[in-house]
């Protein structure tokens, strides 16, 4: 019964999304207030029914209802309960239901917190969001129904969730990503709605900012978590592979970063308006493109869903309509938008322009690398190639280095015009000190001097020192939440840079053969294998090794990596064990048994690797902090008013 309810709720949701797309739009055209007002209530209803639908699917999983095909394919009675729950978004159909639910969540949020928007604009925005939901829910109902049943004959037990996904990271990573991807639909819808009015004022930019920052912050968390998850779960010590699906999440992030900066300039100085609109359209477009790439089978990737190609076709057509339509609208309506202000080459505006340019170029480079195999195959009629990390690193690193250079200076620049020698005069001691600090710390840690590493570390330290100094000069006064957010996010980036550089240049890793009693030394740490024994898990059996790690005769850690054998899915999985540290990670993973009692083992010492994710989280935190800005707080007052007066 419950799956049927879920299915029915989905159908109702489709109806509501159609109403949301159409009715307020008619209200705008006819200037009928009642129709325009209806948007909020419809949005609420849409959310409720999608939530119901989602809960029905969740219930089916928790109750082990294997008559539902999706549950049978992704769960098992022996699966621990938290993974039964997260298995809901473990594969294509269910994860897309989550996507649709989150979309309706953002829609409702816009409906509720839009005190600053006039009724006409609000109706337009919600109508666009409704239209997007129509697309998503239709896709679910007609091409990816998670509630499909296989009656009368259904398996007594499920095929189990892929062991790789039976992990905390999976519980949190996809929802965070979707919050980001889908969240960009808000600035997108705002941009579209604004284009339809033909007017683009500062209010539009001001209005978009908190939503964009929030979506971007969520996406940052999602990507950071993904990287961290890959690191400890995949068993090989890597944290970014330039894999197609990773790129699919990174491209909207890069564009989103450009967007938040561009919006700031548009709001404060009225510049780049037309570009900002284009960026808003593009960022969400990349979210959609990412969804297509991951779910269509067009790209072979470690991450790609195995999906029926007709579903991929559906998404492609949806893409064409949404993005093509938006760009067409942009082409016709954006002519009326002109920036008034002028600025000099050393102004903050100019730096933001360069910032955006570099980000767009970086995105284009990643897109090219991601799609090139497909392009090549099409152009050469079948020849297959792969584009690996070397390409991405070679292209991305220089672009991003230039970006960091701008980032050193930009927060200290002024709108319209900056006095260039002021910058250098005030800051030269810090600029000079940074490389010395980097060199000193490197030598103190007993590491070799690598000049490129020193250079990048200097860059990161410049960013941090100058930010700290600016804060100190203002006597630690925080003028606004936006400012604090900027400090946090920029510091986060600097931290992440440090993490990346140190880990890349100073990690030591080795694959070795070890028998019980053997000791291997890496970066001053001694890894000793005590032995390997059999252990039993809830739905697996494992070989567990015990490693004792010492340094200069001091016991540092005991690590127990496992090789798990999942009985139902007949899968083998490597579960690495890590001794995490602020300044270094110790990492051990089991390969395979060789000969009598020996094992192939992978050992790593990775200095500063956690800084990458701490940095990422700090970046996201900065984004969230900006939401607290005074300027947006009047919204909460409006919510109070709305709640009191909302019609049934």
């Amino acid at each position: 019964m419950i799956p049927e309810f879920g299915h029915f709720a989905l159908i109702l949701a489709l109806g509501l999304s159609l109403a949301l797309a159409v009715l307020p739009a008619i209200g705008v055209v006819r200037q009928e207030t009642l129709l325009m007002h209806s948007a909020s209530s419809i949005a609420a209803g849409l959310f409720v029914f999608l939530l119901l639908s989602f809960f029905c699917l969740l219930t089916a999983f928790v109750q082990d209802d294997f008559s539902v095909t999706y549950v049978a394919n992704n769960s098992n009675s022996a699966l621990p309960i938290q993974y039964k729950a997260s298995a809901v978004w473990g594969a294509h159909e269910g994860s897309f239901l989550l996507w649709a639910l989150i979309m309706s969540g953002w829609t409702l949020a816009v409906a509720t917190f839009s005190g600053g928007l006039n009724l006409d604009m609000k109706a337009r925005v919600l109508s666009v969001m409704g239209a997007l939901s129509v697309g998503f829910i239709s896709y679910l109902l007609f091409a990816s129904n998670p509630f499909e049943r296989s009656l009368p004959f259904y398996p007594p037990d499920g095929a189990d969730l892929n062991p790789l996904l039976q992990d905390f990271g999976l519980i949190v990573h996809p929802p965070m990503l979707y919050m980001g991807y889908v969240g960009f639909a808000v600035p997108f819808s705002l941009a579209i709605a604004t284009l339809t009015t033909g007017r683009l004022d500062a209010a539009w930019a001001r209005w978009s900012r908190p939503w964009t920052n929030a979506a971007w912050a969520f996406l940052t968390v999602g990507i950071t978590l993904g990287s961290w998850w890959a690191y400890y779960e995949l068993g090989w010590g890597g944290w970014w592979f330039w894999d197609a699906v990773e790129n699919a999440s990174f491209m909207p992030w890069l564009m989103g970063t450009a967007l938040i900066h561009s919006l700031a300039a548009s709001e404060k100085r009225g510049v780049f308006k037309s570009w900002t609109v284009l960026l808003a359209i593009s960022t969400f477009s990349f979210s959609l493109l990412g969804a297509f790439l991951v779910r269509s089978g067009v790209l072979t990737s470690v991450h790609a869903f195995a999906v029926d190609p007709t579903r991929g076709l559906f998404i492609l057509i949806f893409l064409v309509f949404v993005i093509g339509g938006s760009l067409l609208l942009y082409a016709f309506k954006a002519s009326g938008i002109k920036s008034q202000a002028s600025y000099q080459w050393n102004s903050r505006e100019a730096m933001l322009l360069v910032n955006n340019l570099l980000l767009v170029v970086a995105t284009a480079a990643v897109l090219l690398g991601t799609l090139y195999p497909l392009l090549y195959e099409v152009l050469t009629d079948g020849r297959k190639i792969s584009v690996g990390p070397p390409y991405f690193n070679r292209v991305f690193v220089p672009i991003v280095t230039l970006l960091f250079l701008v980032m050193v200076v930009a927060p200290h620049s002024r709108w319209k015009k900056t006095s260039s020698n002021l910058l250098v005069r005030q800051h030269w001691p810090y600029l000079v000190a940074a490389p010395f600090v980097a060199i000193t710390i490197t030598l103190m840690m007993g590491l070799a001097l690598q000049w490129i590493a020193i250079g990048m570390e200097t860059l990161a330290l410049w960013i941090l020192f100058l930010l700290a100094r600016k804060w100190w000069l203002s006597e630690f006064r925080i003028s606004s939440a936006s400012y604090l957010g900027m400090l946090a996010s920029h510091s986060g980036i600097a931290m992440a840079i440090l993490g990346v550089v140190v880990t890349v240049y100073y990690s030591e890793g080795r694959d070795v053969r070890m028998a019980p009693g053997d000791v291997v030394t890496l970066s001053g740490y001694e890894f000793r294998l005590e032995g390997v024994s059999r252990v039993q898990g809830p739905n697996y059996v494992a070989d567990q090794a015990e490693f004792h790690i010492t340094k200069s005769d001091k016991e540092i850690a005991v690590l127990r990596p496992e090789k798990r054998y999942y009985s139902v899915a007949q899968n083998v999985m490597t579960e690495a064990d890590i001794d995490p540290g602020l300044f270094r990670d110790l990492y051990v993973a089991l390969g395979e048994p060789i000969g009598d009692s020996a094992w192939a083992v992978r050992l790593h010492v990775k200095p500063f690797v956690r800084w990458i994710w701490f940095g990422g989280l700090l970046v996201a935190l900065g984004g969230f902090i900006t939401l607290l800005d005074r300027r947006y707080r009047r919204i909460t007052k409006t919510v109070g008013k709305l709640v009191a007066g909302v019609p049934a």
Binding site: G198, V298, L316, L328, F332, G336
Partner: protein
């Protein structure tokens, strides 16, 4: 509304770039999914094979064991949930419709397969053990379940990828079989 002003042509550039992108995606998509188009195997004879019978490991089955009527060949495995889902329909096709079905047990364990058929009943005239996937490769099989319609001459006339539900039988397989039977009786 003061739209329809002079169109700044440079604003069409993003749309142009996007169109190019879509073109490539569409082409690539089509390239990767040739089975959206007719299979290359249609109208080719069923490949030769020499595989052990599932229930009698001494017996080697070949094309000669095909009875010379319109029949189905079904690729299945105990590890495949969709095979279980289509199973009742296959049983119905074998008994009620009287169509012969040959089973190709793909990439499986012989004992498990025998036990599975005992538990769920056996719709197959016989099943062959294709553990290395040699026959599957020759058929262009990519996974299970897949079902082929074979005519009297042993030529493949249709291929269906996915579980054969009743709807699939009605809409896809039955028309082919009826067509074959009609044209052969002329």
């Amino acid at each position: 509304m003061s739209d329809k002003m002079t169109l700044n042509k440079s604003l069409l550039i993003p749309l142009g770039v996007f169109s190019l992108l879509v073109l490539f995606l569409a082409l690539g998509f089509q390239l990767k999914n040739p089975h959206l188009l007719p299979s290359a195997l249609i109208n080719k004879p069923f490949p030769e094979f020499q595989l052990k019978d599932l229930h009698d490991s001494e017996k080697i089955r070949t094309l000669k064991d095909f009875s010379g009527e319109v029949a189905l060949a079904n690729v299945w495995g105990t590890w495949c949930p969709n095979c279980l889902i289509e199973h009742p329909e296959l049983l119905r096709i074998a008994t009620e419709e009287g169509i012969t079905i040959y089973g190709i047990n793909y990439n499986d364990d012989v004992d498990k397969a025998i036990a599975w058929l005992m538990r769920h009943e056996n719709p197959y005239e016989f099943s062959v053990v294709d553990n290395e996937g040699i026959l599957a490769i020759d058929l262009g099989v990519y996974g299970a379940p897949e079902t082929f319609v074979i005519d009297r001459q042993g030529v493949i006339q249709f291929r269906y990828v996915g579980p054969v539900t009743h709807a699939v039988w009605q809409e896809k397989l039955l028309p082919v079989i009826e067509h074959l039977r009609r044209s052969e009786s002329e």
